[in-house]
Symmetry: C3
Subunit: 645 residues, 3 copies
């Protein structure tokens, strides 16, 4: 499917009815063909219990369709109306501190509330019944941003009961659970499943208990999501189904939840997340108005995997947002650049959030394609340019990359639960290794630990504590080389240290025993013997016993890299230049061509086209001899180039 659609998010219920046609015409004129609506409108669709008002939405659908737009209909379950909360206050989520989290914003529901689930199924079914076969309603989005505002986990009594049931289903007997969790430690043994508590105690709770809780919480999201998806699908069998996931968000297993959808989509806010990111101040200053060059790209590749090859951007940042501590204004042209980046990674659609900035309520400072007074915002011109350029191109489908990066949501939970060196996070390692590949001009497919790996030349395993033999078998069968990072195979599926120690399953491929970890405080850098000042390890280095001579060694004599069968183990968190060097070496060993990128420049291939985007603050020269279909060389900051690969 090489036809890329552009779209926008729209809230007819926020604007006078007489404005709708003008807005629809404006969207169409801009080159948009998709519009998402409906996902926060429950209080307007069912203003009183059992009293429904569809007329306005019918009109909105017709008005948009009349302008030639196709609709993604959002089910409104992320915002239950007040009357529902009043009727069933137990549906409210509860924080880890035991406080009820109240009505007055959004996502005020617990995934474990059966009463809420019933009501959500009802409104979803009614909506899907009404619009499921409407010709203009081509896609459906369930709910909105599952888990946003820390709502994946809920500490209500309903959640606890559901967790106890979940534990019983997993372990069958309480003795099995006690054994699996090692509850003999500190006399934590439970006498029955209904004795199990929330993972909140005098001090840290058992990591196996925490892991079960995280898995249960993820499963609760999946069950609710699957229920909603099935409800829609029943009435809308022809439309494609999606959910809009988020960036930097790992609280539930997206591969698992994504399996119930046709297309994955995500909400891309590069500047909001840059401000929140665990990056140093210099890097935040450098990319303040363009975003980190690899952040959006990483998520495109991740959600393409979640969508089993199909993904889109449901909400693309058009200007400043309202929710980061410091909300920067994007540099000129970024709404276009970010759009092209998504397309380069295979997006089926890019949809901006939102059509028009809202003058009231929580998101007043959130930019739109139009300003609050309906005049054109900077994103409008960017999108217009992108739409025009896009119309002139025939883009092919995304092709498989030669590099796969294995991303595991459970790995994120493991490092959350046991950082051991403050701030250590599997997601950070994944982002850094992904960046390292991109810095070498390599395209990357992000894949789940269960993915087939045939065709890859190099498989990156940045941080996989629960790495299993099956994955290694697939790597070996594929003939790919591998590069594995710290903590690989360091825990069993039940959160125990494996027999024979870390790297567990990986010990079949490399002769190592990880006997300990040296956790380094921020600012403690261990230089590499014979390396530059930029080549160092930090934050985490493992004590390794091996018959193998280490490749890289720190200046104080500790092994950092260890070669095994067709791959290398990296026993530390590396500086960005160092991991880039290691990825380059691994790629070259795998016979892949690497092309070092200048600061801020990145490339990505789609079909027969090669894209280049410049996130940096200086112009960058493009490869010699290519025939540019778009852009120029040197490529100015914030610009995009395109040529036939």
């Amino acid at each position: 499917m090489a036809h890329v659609r552009l779209g926008v998010c729209y809230y007819p219920e926020h604007w006078p009815r007489e404005r709708w046609a003008q807005d629809a015409a404006g969207m169409a004129a801009l080159g948009l063909s998709l519009v998402r609506i409906g996902e926060f409108a429950w209080s307007r669709l069912e203003p009183k219990p059992g009293r429904f008002d569809w007329a306005w939405l019918d009109d909105a659908v017709e008005t948009l369709a009349a302008a030639g737009l196709e609709i993604i209909m959002g089910t409104p379950t992320a915002c239950p109306p007040h009357w529902l909360v009043a009727r069933d206050p137990d549906m409210l989520p509860v924080g880890a501190d035991g406080q009820v989290r109240g009505f007055g914003s959004r996502r005020h529901y617990s995934f474990s509330s059966l009463g809420y689930r019933e009501a959500a199924r009802d409104i979803t079914a009614r909506m899907a019944e009404r619009y499921g076969k409407h010709a203009a309603v081509v896609g459906w989005q369930t709910d909105n941003e599952f888990g946003c505002h820390d709502t994946t986990e809920c500490f209500s009594s309903a959640a606890l009961t559901a967790f106890q049931t979940w534990c019983e289903a997993r372990y069958n007997t309480i003795d099995a659970l006690n054994a699996a969790w090692g509850n003999v430690f500190w006399s934590q043994e439970y006498e029955a499943f209904n004795a199990i508590g929330l993972p909140v105690a005098v001090t840290e709770t058992n990591p196996a208990h925490c892991m079960a809780w995280r898995r249960f919480s993820s499963d609760q999201v999946r069950d609710f999501s699957a229920d909603m998806a099935a409800t829609v699908r029943k009435h809308a069998p022809e439309a494609w189904l999606t959910h809009n996931f988020m960036g930097n968000f790992t609280d539930f297993d997206h591969f698992d939840v994504g399996a119930d959808y046709d297309v994955a989509s995500w909400d891309s806010y590069p500047l909001g997340f840059l401000d929140l990111a665990d990056l140093d101040d210099a890097m935040k200053a450098r990319y303040r108005r363009r975003g980190h060059p690899d952040w959006a790209a990483f998520h495109h590749d991740l959600y393409r995997a979640v969508g089993r090859g199909r993904f889109g951007v449901m909400e693309q940042q058009p200007g400043p947002v309202n929710w980061a501590p410091h909300n920067a204004q994007p540099a000129a042209g970024m709404a276009r650049l970010w759009g092209w980046e998504a397309i380069a990674h295979g997006a089926e659609f890019v949809s901006w959030f939102r059509w028009r900035q809202l003058h009231v309520a929580q998101e007043q400072f959130h930019a739109g394609v139009l300003h609050a007074d309906a005049t054109l915002a900077p994103a409008h011109g960017d999108i217009e340019r992108l739409a025009r350029e896009l119309a002139e191109l025939e883009l092919g489908d995304t092709r498989p990359a030669r590099v796969a990066l294995v991303f595991d949501y459970e790995a994120c939970w493991v490092t959350d639960i046991q950082p051991q060196s403050a701030g250590f996070a599997a997601l950070t390692l994944a982002l850094e290794w992904y960046s390292a590949a991109r810095l070498n001009g390599l395209d990357v497919d992000i894949v789940s630990p269960d993915a087939a790996l045939n065709g890859y030349g190099l498989v990156l395993l940045p941080c996989l504590p629960m790495l299993e033999h099956a994955l290694l078998d697939r790597i070996t069968a594929s003939g790919a080389r591998w590069l594995a990072g710290p903590r690989a195979g360091s825990r069993t599926n039940e959160f125990a240290i494996p027999d024979g120690l870390a790297p567990g399953a990986l010990r079949t491929l490399v002769d190592l025993r990880i006997t300990g970890v040296d956790a380094l405080r921020r600012g403690v850098h261990l230089g590499i013997d014979g390396g530059d000042d930029d080549d160092y390890v930090h934050h985490w280095i493992e004590a390794v016993e091996s018959s193998t001579e280490p490749g890289l060694v720190t200046r104080d004599g500790r092994g950092v890299t260890f070669d095994g069968d067709a791959g290398t183990y990296v026993a530390a968190r590396c500086s960005r230049p160092l991991i880039a060097r290691l990825v380059a070496e691994a790629a070259q060993a795998a016979g892949l061509e690497t092309r070092p990128m200048p600061a801020g420049l990145r490339t990505r291939r789609r079909g027969d086209h090669m894209f280049a985007v410049n996130y940096g603050n200086t112009a960058q020269r493009l490869p010699e001899g290519v025939r540019l279909l778009l852009g120029q060389s040197p490529l100015p900051p914030g610009e995009v180039a395109l040529w036939e690969a």
Copy 2:
């Protein structure tokens, strides 16, 4: 009223009765003529429910009066006794986290507790009845430091009910409220007033909801305050009435609360607040023992406005306090300098807190005029010198300044609710612009948004998001020039973006549309084209559309200043040197004479006298040719000079 009184706070209930006469004599000998008593003594006045003991206070009043002192009587409502709390535990305030805030310190009451209000009215009436016509009781203070310790807002069920009633009174119908707040967003619509909740939810609540809550909370303080003031006044018709407000405190509208009093007073702790201030470490180090040169001055000018021309300092820091993270010891002479600063700004009285350091309980580390062992503390000598100097002068009344700075409490709530760039606060802007005027040798009147503006040459509007036409009309009618800072006119009274965007009403005077904001992280400075290194904007710069050429432009090409009819809009937070330069230019354009001040030196005129005070660490030369009535040139650090203007 040009007679300035000096005073002190005294707690006869803390000391043996046989000590009282000696203390009173000491005060009189020091040159004090006012003494505040009574404001924390409820448990001694009503030791058991309905059992009163006035005898000791009668004696104290007579003893003080016999020494020639006049008394400010404080009503004791800030410290309800334990028996009252035991009888009515619902009077206790509740935090935003739902936790009851208990007995054991002070201010343990909710402004929304009707039971408490009844009890407070009773003790106040009885006290006023007993002493209201006593010749020596010349003034009354209600309660103590309304809102201290975050007690303006209370999240009890009584407060919620009162808030719902308040909303009904303001909006009449729930539909009107839903429309005004934009509750269609996120399905936040309420079906009835009693459905409205506290502004605490899963994530941020509607800013209009927050704003209503802040206004309600402010009104609760005002209602209680008005009730107490009326109760006193009924029995004390001849005495003047005051309340002691605080520094850096904007949780309720002081203009509103102040309207019920004859004189505003405030509690001036320059060093405690310096330690807490949002200033860089270098500035905190420079002024560590003298306080920031403009901090106390700002509050004097603010409370003179709150008191409609009449104000005093009820509590002046005499030495180290006990409540800041680091409690510095004032440099030699500061008790005198701070006293003179207050007088220069028109204070009717300056009263030190407290006469004698207390050897027990919470404030053991809080200095007094006497040490805990009744020996003389450094402040004693300072006050003695000040009293002697003061006795030899005939001071005129404060004259209106030529510069007005409009300060709006609601502006502070707006920036609290929506900082958009972390830490952005209307109060900070007001302090910086005030400082800028003082650095140019300009006296400033701080005024409310409702104030008459006749006679001013320049009106400063540092940060007024809810700026209204009426204020601009008054500026225009006055013939003054204006200088308006970022966020002016950016919100309607109901916390919405105005039609036509910011600067809203100000668009009648300058052709601008503010279409966005670029929020800058700490350390990101945008230099001014053609400016010095010190000339930069930071933290906040707006995207502006205008037919007007900007005046100042950043090095990356963004307009910072825009001239309009008789004034200029400043679209950014400026460095201190830059805003000083802009204020100087505006003043000069208004025909006002500016005199740049050397670091740490400040001047202030009162009547025909000009005061100079040196907060810096080096001596500073005074203007040539003036005849000094006090002080010398160069003026040493911590010293005061005075001459005929």
Copy 3:
């Protein structure tokens, strides 16, 4: 008792029974002779209410004894099983925020729960009855790490009732309590003992109230501890009794609790606590893998005092731990060095925690003597070397030092309650002064404020706010010189400023009145007149009135040291070099020989042997002419030397 034992902590319940004999043999072969067991095994000893299973522990005891090991039996009360909590949920501790702290880790009991105490007494009695006269069970440990995880204070209603009773016992009448606490301030007077609340209120509560609460909380620990100790002793009259205290822990009075035991022991984790310590980043980097040179030594000397001359290390860090933010891996040989340091200070035993790293539950990242897979961890070799070296030596008993440092737990509570300059802590001062003595090559005895002082040449009083005459009388009687630090004598026993001001009782020895404090922000350094750059005071300097000329004076003219009868008062917190200089001068004045230590090197004498240990990163030359029994000169980093003194 000059025979030093080495040992280890072991958990037979964690491992298959068939492994026990092999483990026991391994311990014996390593040179260990002591093994602690049992202290977390309640759920295995009493798996159901009243149903006991001793068989496995019987077997474990026999297996260990058969290998020649002697046993320290730990009573299991730190981990009540779930069935007990389910039966009596009121036993759970409650935090200051009112939240119940649940089951799921350890120490989930309130010292004030009578139901829990009863159950604890029962299991302890049964265990002691069974093993109290077993020949191999030579020692007993009650519970585990009293107070760990902030459990000394509990805010339950049971605790409040107990506190009210405690207050009545201390003060007899509520009037006496009100007077002692100064409750007239802020009308805080209570009408009856049952009106007294927890020390949690709208703002800070009365420091006298806080102090009473801290004393009560300490007494609750002592009462429980005494009850448990008596219960064991009844059935195990021949065994020695201990409790394992912690590092950096002052929440209860250890002298008081220690009085019920024969031997004090503590759990020594030098690297975990370095990461948490209030030290600058450079120092943390320097000692990252060896620990601060004085930290463990300080605690050895402290617990030798708590044990009235007898102490051991119950848990010695063998490798990385799991509970600090960053868990460093010890440098090579540290398990040996730390062991020798303990022995040099007179330890009767050193026991490593734990024999084998556990592959499940909370402490997976906590190293052992064996790795989780039962292979040898680095500590194994270190201990083996230490055991071999130790076997060849005849060590004498620890001799009294010539320097005493008075440490007062109540002082720590005073500075917790009233820091006045953020972060000021009596423990920090004690550590710094202790370090200063060690830097001069001086051995130190840490003593309680009630200790006899005969024989000392110099008594250090780093921070003793509640210093009393009796202590000074003992100093004077001993003929020792004294050096007293800031805040000495600044509060009465009831937390009031003393008559005549600070330094209170000390005014009999030096003519001073402390009239105030100048609290300095971090980074504000006041240089010493005539001193080096390293000689400065910071954080705290007092305003002093004295007829005595100060010794050291700051560059801005403030007196820092004041000589009195046979001693000197230091009115500030000094930089480390400055306090080292002052201690050196005091020691020399006392006729003691000082030997300045190079960075990282420390010495300690035991009997006729002098030990040197090198915590630094470079080799250090040892004194000329000594005959080394162990080690070499220069002494490499991490190494130990020994010679006859």
